[in-house]
Amino acid sequence: MQTSHHDRSRHVLPQFMAGCAVFALAFGLVGAVGISYAHAEDVIVGLVTKTEVNPFFVKMRQAAEAEAQTKGLKLIARAGKFDGDNEGQVAAIEDLISAGAKGILVTPNNSSGMLGVIKKARDAGVLVIALDTATDPADAVDATFATDNLEAGVQQGAYAKAALGDKKPVIAMLDGTPGGTVDTFRHDGFLKGFGIAEGDPAIAGAAITNGAQDKAQVGMENLLSKNGDINVVYTINEPAAAGGYQALKSFGMEKDVILTSIDGGCAGVRNVKAGIIAATVMQFPYKMASMGVDAVAEYAATGKKPSGFINTGSYLITDKPMPGLDSKDSEWGLQNCWGD
């Protein structure tokens, strides 16, 4: 029996420590929770962004927080785990319904993937507004506050066409994630603005960047290896443009190519100012978020719901304006950009 007794004493300590650790952790949380959960009767507005990391959504969240504070609402923010995470966003909306949210603002990762849970929310009397990205069908939500991405793409394409002038176009497309709603709109808008159709021989090739700088760089390098005559580059966003620029530079072609983009992030606007990006199309995430919070406040107070697509606008930002195209310069851009 001696061994047995010895056995037992070896089991007591770690179990005891585990118990202590768990309860310390749990009650630490009570403290944190107790503070933040002070006003149980607040009107709750939920914000579900695509990811936590993109500065676009950070800006959106900051604006929503600020606006919620002004209006006396409580904001609960959630996000998908990765670009394209539909399951995580569905769970977030479910949790927000449980939390008793009055309204939910969502930037859907997948325009058709969360229709069921959105319906559930609306059936429960929750106002649901899509920000930045529309759902499919668009009337699945009460209203959509977003950049008209097709229009933004058209602005980008029209600028590229004007800047190229009479030269024969050889276009590289640095796309985001194939099949994404925003990606499709911007891509198609660019072609429309440039005045060509999908499959036009002027398109030298396309690369999938997921909107990330590193992947864009590799993609651009490969496209340049394939075709050294490229003179116009479409990019899904400014990080992709930055990656594309690195590749162009390593090929010594950064001076000869018209690099265009969309987003209006501050880093992107600075790149416009530095002459790295010829032109970008700025969108206004803070407008989407603050308008969304306002709509929830209004709904909570009066029961009135917004409806339809509300364009939050987009501006062409460039220091080399083209005649006939409305644009703002980079100074204006820096005052109105998002991110750092």
Binding site: M1, S4, D7, R8, R10, H11, V12, P14, Q15, F16, A18, G19, A21, V22, F23, L25, A26, F27, L29, V30, A32, V33, G34, S36, Y37, A40, I44, E52, K74, I76, A77, R78, A79, K81, F82, D83, G84, D85, N86, E87, V90, A91, A92, E94, D95, L96, I97, S98, A99, G100, N109, N110, S112, G113, M114, L115, G116, T177, P178, G179
Partner: protein, 328 residues
């Protein structure tokens, strides 16, 4: 003492010594502690609707974690869980949209998933390739293949049979989906397999000491092959449950399911070195992650804290495993 009364030394020995006979007591304590905290801070947490939501949110990763547990018990690891499951959703969805019989489509998809597991298992057991590398390769191949098949886009799947597991039923004030029931049923079946049959006993022995298993005549390679194939079948069944939960076949879905399922398994107390742990812990582990995410949202706390706390729990769990192994 010559052990004439085998159970005598355990009797009346107090809570702590008995913990070695109750599986997953640590994870259960953690789960209860979190539930207690969240229930105190927001009464909505214990609302039947909310508890039902947490269960539904656990379905996909929770069911995938069954297969992951089997693989980890053999001292392997499966990075392709999510990819194999998405293979199931895309193939079944695509076939149904092309007009094939839904039941046949789902069956075919599940067979494909089983086959994927079988191939990975063959590479691991016959060629002695490391499971990490084999399943990493499977993950890459499937991810690319699925994007090629689906041309990158997600597509809705509207079919009564494929969506069946999303239908609800009521127990008192609890509204549950058939998916939740299916998950729990799968847990029960595989638990029985692991704990009450030779097959499960041999699985533990192989994870523990493959050489000893071989010496007593257990066909180790064949067993490994079966484990990976069964895991593949479970991922295929999960595909059906996933379509019931979200009727959308999405090649971008479940990208973090491999790490999420490993997290559930590890928090549940199963050792990454194989041969120790079990399914009760895994279910509790999956629930802990779900409860944290939901509870923090209800409390209005930044859900990034969920990742942080989950990270701490993973490290604590692995540290306990390592310490308890080192003492031996």
């Amino acid at each position: 003492m010559s052990s004439a009364t085998p159970s005598a030394p355990e009797a009346g020995a107090g809570l702590f010594s008995r913990t070695k006979t109750i599986p997953a007591v640590g994870p259960i304590l953690v789960l209860l502690a979190f539930c207690l905290v969240f229930a105190v801070t927001n009464p909505r947490f214990l609302a039947p609707h909310n508890l039902s939501i947490i269960l539904q949110q656990t379905i996909v990763v929770g069911t995938l974690a069954i297969g992951q547990t089997l693989v980890i018990l053999t001292a392997g690891i499966d990075l392709a869980v999510g990819a194999i499951c998405v293979l199931g959703t895309i193939v079944a969805g695509k076939m149904v949209n092309l007009g094939y019989d839904p039941m046949l489509s789902m069956l075919f998809a599940a067979i494909l998933c089983t086959l994927s597991g079988l191939i990975a298992g063959a590479l691991v057991s016959r060629l002695d390739l490391p499971p990490f590398i084999v399943t990493l390769g499977t993950l890459g191949i499937l991810t690319a293949a699925l994007r090629l098949i689906s041309k990158g886009g997600a597509f809705p799947v509207q079919d009564d049979f494929l969506g069946l597991t999303g239908n609800t039923f009521r127990i008192g004030s609890f509204v549950l989906t058939y998916g939740v029931l299916a998950m729990l049923l799968l847990y029960a079946i595989v638990w029985y397999l692991l704990n009450e049959t030779r097959w499960g006993r041999h699985l533990y022995a192989i994870g523990n000491n493959p050489e000893a298993a071989r010496l007593v005549g257990i066909p180790v390679r064949l067993h490994l092959l079966q484990v990976y194939a069964l895991a593949g079948l479970i991922y295929g069944i999960t595909a059906w449950l996933a379509l019931g939960r979200i009727p959308n076949a999405d090649p971008n879905a479940l990208q973090t399911a491999n790490l999420d399922s490993i997290t559930a398994v590890v928090i549940g107390g199963t050792s990454l070195f194989g041969g120790r742990g079990g399914l009760v812990g895994t279910l509790i582990g999956a629930l802990i992650v779900g409860v944290l995410r939901n509870g923090l949202t209800l409390a209005g706390i930044d859900p990034l804290w969920q990742d942080l706390v989950t990270g701490i729990l993973v490290i604590v769990a692995v540290a306990f495993d390592q310490l308890s192994r080192r003492r031996r």
